[in-house]
Symmetry: none
Subunit: 120 residues, 2 copies
């Protein structure tokens, strides 16, 4: 089964989603991110979805879940690189990713995480 790698970058974790995830891969990713935050004490999680040409409601809900789980564990999540067409689809699906911080690019996402860490 595919397993999505989680990279450590300073105080943050970087997750690049490049494949269309199946349910099992997504559930494993949730668990892997949760235990990585616990083990590394990461302050932020950056999820890069710029490689995804399509995001369905399943992935949308998963992004919301990961963001909620991370927050409970004391980390901020930013989803970066959502394409314009994907943003339109998400809103059409009724998934406006409320409560999820988003950024146009990975670079801006990292800036958001750094800013959040300075405030906390």
């Amino acid at each position: 089964m595919e397993r999505i790698p989680i990279l450590r970058m300073g105080k943050n974790l970087l997750v690049t989603i490049q494949i269309d995830m199946q349910d099992q891969t997504a559930l494993m990713l949730q668990e892997d991110i949760a235990s990585s935050i616990d083990q590394t004490g990461a302050h932020g999680v950056l999820i890069d979805v710029s490689a995804l040409e399509m995001v369905d409601s399943f992935i949308g809900r998963m992004l919301v879940s990961i963001s909620d789980i991370s927050r409970i564990l004391g980390a901020t999540t930013v989803v970066a690189g959502i394409r314009p067409a994907v943003a339109i689809t998400l809103v059409e699906l009724g998934l406006s990713l409320g409560g999820v911080k988003t950024a146009l690019s990975v670079e801006r996402g990292m800036q958001m995480l750094d800013a959040a860490a300075r405030v906390a």
Copy 2:
């Protein structure tokens, strides 16, 4: 009946939950925290749940209640030490602890309370 002790640490109260709480114990804890804030004028309440391997929806709602009650009494609550598996379960239960501040460890929780006290 079990009664959960509330320790005073400077301007904060520290509550370590080590047992699976029954309804009565949880209600008493709410009352005890409320009257402790009133008597000591504490600025913050740190609830350490790292000893809990499982948090059900009852405990989840109680943490939200304690956080709300403390806030009304002028104190900030931080829940620290939620385990990764517990965070996932809470989100699956639909309890993402909205409005409750969380921290990975007691140490970070204390830093958050100190930071909140400086702003207030």
